[in-house]
Symmetry: C2
Subunit: 525 residues, 2 copies
């Protein structure tokens, strides 16, 4: 072996906050408070507080590898808990407050977390979880002072007094970079929720992708509004990416309505907003109703759900921003691809994979398609931040060649750009042939009067299933006009048998259209 | 330990070319040929050729960990050799053709390379090296066909016929990511050249920094002119960064004069030029003499030497580009910091360190300064791509706390931006007090008539040393005007005792001003 060495540098997440504390000590993390106020702290002070949370957790017996659960909105205190837990080598198990206590309890039973950190206004839900999980020894409340502890909790306390009493110093880092840092269960829209265990290394490398000019292009000069929740899929990695470059990070707390976001964007000179499409629809509707401009806003990064071209155009025009589409999954940490700023704005395209991510199109059985460009197939993915094996599973989550089957249907164009064309499990089987709801939704969603469109299969005695269309509109549009938009664009037998108009499209816990609920309400035939 | 796993993904450099070959197969590597022509190849074909070079080298007995030396310009064939050597786990020992055969021979004796790959026009120098190093078994000539093999070579051959005969397949990757990939000796401007051993991991992480929006911001939509030589300090990592995003890479061969560069930039729609300041001075002078515009060019990244504000302004105005300053060293792989595009253009500032790089100011003895901002001191650095121990050395290159002493003097401003203020070994001791030549050079260099300025110490019977000024000018400027520019800007006893006007400032092998030569010619007193 050749002589000489380069320096050791473990890819652990504590380094992001330490870097920010040293090089951007005064760059701020801003949290929206109930009632329109804000709380703000610089990275240097945030690290001091976060280390105190580590010391407090150590005092409660938390050690390397232990799981600590959080049930909280995007807030400074939640961020402090993240770094406290991960920095000391424990594992942050994030819980989605939009799920039921029963579901959440079953997840905590699996992770064996003995401590639950919850936003104070979620104390009732936390209490219901405690009732079901005797293994939880401590419930610590953040995000408010003086809230009542839920009845029957073994040990429920606001976190602040405990921090004031915490003594001692906990060393951050020092463990192997492949140590786990986080645990998140999939939203379970296509089956039972499965746990994904993130490691320091996988999330570190995922973060470096978010900083790339051809990716999310997160810069230290940005003010980033993270509407994507910290309680699911790492808030797309923004709580790592922002301190990694010392960017200002703006956290909306529990308020993701248009008025709250507009106020935050204006007050904090937000340059980049990140969240699912429906969030930005709310912002646009608010501005359309009340007037007003948001001149600081330059870009919006969307993902988590298909972006309707009409909505994208509406957002770009009303807000005067560039919308960057992206594709990801809980299993991908979560970002797979991002449409780069240098590409023309196009709703359907989610960009080429960056180094560290690789894509493969297969048939339904997992055999690679002979043609991988200008072709459509079942999407598989491989990479540094992709799941290998789910929490608690013996079998790998990948195929024999290491590819993870995403369950998405996709097209890859000649230039290598990814276009998600649907979910394999969403497909409707009608008369023995497949109908892809996503293609129908894309056409109807392109109509300016349509805010959100969903197509599901309805049981049909003759055909097995037939497609029906559910729409939320923002203007007058006749059923005939809706169907006319489809003629010549999709096969005639793909045209929905019925149209339902919804006041509000039901959204699942992650902000995506809740097709499970739509199917249970409208799919019976 | 918590259950569940993320996928394994070794940070090895072969992945960059494989990624480009798959996702940007047609993006080009363009090489300037003698006489104004160009050679071009897509990444997919380049990988095929590079794998054939691996097979050929394997046939000559090269295995994992073996060193293969290259003595070549920036060219497609050199790039093929790099990936061939590194991809198979061998170590690419780059040699600087501007050094003497004697120096180069002593480096090869140390690395024990048995194969030397050289640009055909460097065959005479290669022959002189062979005469001195009997251990070299094969001299392979690239970059031209039908060149004569140098006399007395044990086995000298153009590479192309060997590639045509090469059979078999060599697997790339599969070794540990901390395996060495490259070896480069420091330029030795401040002592005997020392070897720096790069690893796959260190260069991979260094590359990810070059892709960051706050760093070099290398994008797949860029056409990058790499004037920085592949024969020293990895051409600042561009041969890794370009394929990592599938950017077009333009290689100037041996011609870095203004006319050649202007032709290449125009013909290949270059968007980013990267090289030492003097290269761009040549380009500006050419355009000033001949007229013409280079509308595709957006940015120039400079480093390796202080950037004179006047030259920077001249480049920005004449070329209509943004100049980004940077700081680095062979020991840093080589980039330390880069001024981000989002910061105001300022010659002296080299930006804040990115995650993975950390800086410390100390006194001359290595004790950290109590104040690290708005302060000046001796610069130390730590990070994922910084040398830990030189090739062949027993002692670490770092201090007890893991900091590498750069030998640079630096100021870090309140916002954390690095400003290199001089070289510790350049300091002039006059009457027992220190004079910093870099500060004097910066003032004189700001005059529009001054192209290049150097201050060195001249032996002085009374004071020990006294500063003298050497200038290359581009317009009329009196000695009195040169000195007047300094009055009130530096201490009166810092004002040089003499001024020498040079037709051409002597440049060292890396394009920096050759102060060793200036001292030997003018420093005797």
């Amino acid at each position: 072996m050749i002589d000489g060495e380069m320096q050791a540098f473990a890819l652990t997440l504590d380094k992001f906050l330490e870097h920010a504390a040293k090089w951007r000590p005064d760059a701020q993390v801003v949290t929206a408070r109930d009632g329109g106020g804000t709380e703000r702290i610089g990275y240097a002070d945030l690290m001091v507080r976060s280390r105190r949370v580590s010391a407090m957790l150590a005092g409660l017996g938390v050690g390397v590898g232990d799981r600590v659960a959080t049930l909280a909105w995007n807030s400074q205190a939640h961020l402090e808990a993240w770094y406290a837990i991960m920095g000391m080598g424990a594992v942050c198990h994030t819980l989605n407050p939009r799920l039921t206590a029963e579901h959440l309890a079953s997840m905590i039973v699996q992770s064996q977390a003995r401590i639950l950190i919850a936003s104070a206004d979620l104390a009732p839900l936390a209490g219901q979880i405690l009732d079901r999980v005797p293994g939880i020894e401590h419930l610590l409340l953040i995000d408010a002072v003086g809230e009542e502890a839920p009845q029957g909790a073994p040990s429920a306390a606001p976190i602040e007094p405990l921090l004031a009493e915490a003594t001692g110093e906990v060393v951050w880092g020092g463990f192997d970079e492949t140590a786990p840092c986080g645990l998140c269960f999939t939203s379970g829209t296509t089956g039972a929720p499965k746990g994904v265990t993130y490691t320091h290394r996988s999330s570190f490398l995922h973060t470096l992708r978010a900083l790339q000019v051809d990716g999310m292009a997160i810069s230290g000069s940005d003010s980033i509004l993270a509407v994507v929740p910290m309680f699911h899929a790492n808030a797309w990695g923004l709580p790592f990416a922002a301190p990694a470059v010392g960017a200002k990070l703006v956290l909306p707390g529990r308020h993701a309505d248009g008025a709250s976001l507009a106020r935050l964007i204006a007050a904090e000179a937000v340059t980049v907003g990140v969240g699912v499409p429906t969030v930005w629809l709310g912002l646009v509707e608010h501005l359309e109703a009340t007037g007003g401009e948001l001149p600081s806003l330059q870009r919006i990064i969307v993902g988590g759900a298909p972006m309707a071209p009409a909505l994208m155009e509406r957002i770009e025009q009303r807000l005067g921003v560039r919308v960057q589409t992206s594709w990801g999954m809980t299993e991908l940490s979560p970002t797979g691809t991002v449409a780069p700023l240098s590409a023309p704005s196009q709703a359907a395209l989610s960009g080429r994979p960056a180094i560290g991510v690789d894509l493969l199109l297969t048939d339904a059985d997992g055999t690679p398609l002979s043609q991988q460009r200008d072709a459509e197939g079942h999407l598989r993915v491989r990479g540094a931040a992709v799941v290998q094996r789910y929490f608690g599973h013996d079998a790998p989550a990948t195929d024999a060649n290491g590819w993870f089957p995403t369950g998405d249907l996709a097209r890859i164009d000649a230039a290598g750009n990814l276009m998600i064309t649907g979910r394999a499990k969403d497909l409707i089987k009608s008369g023995g042939e497949w109908i892809n709801p996503a293609e129908i939704e894309a056409v109807v969603g392109a109509l300016p009067e349509v805010s959100l469109a969903a197509v599901i299969g309805r049981s049909d005695a003759k055909w097995g299933e037939r497609p029906i269309l559910l729409v939320e509109t923002q203007g007058e549009v006749s059923d005939e006009a809706l169907l006319a938009s489809l003629r010549g664009r999709v096969a005639s037998w793909w045209i929905p048998d019925a149209i339902y108009r919804l006041q509000r499209m039901p959204l699942a816990s992650t902000g995506k259209i809740d097709k499970i609920r739509l199917r249970s309400e409208y799919g019976g035939g």
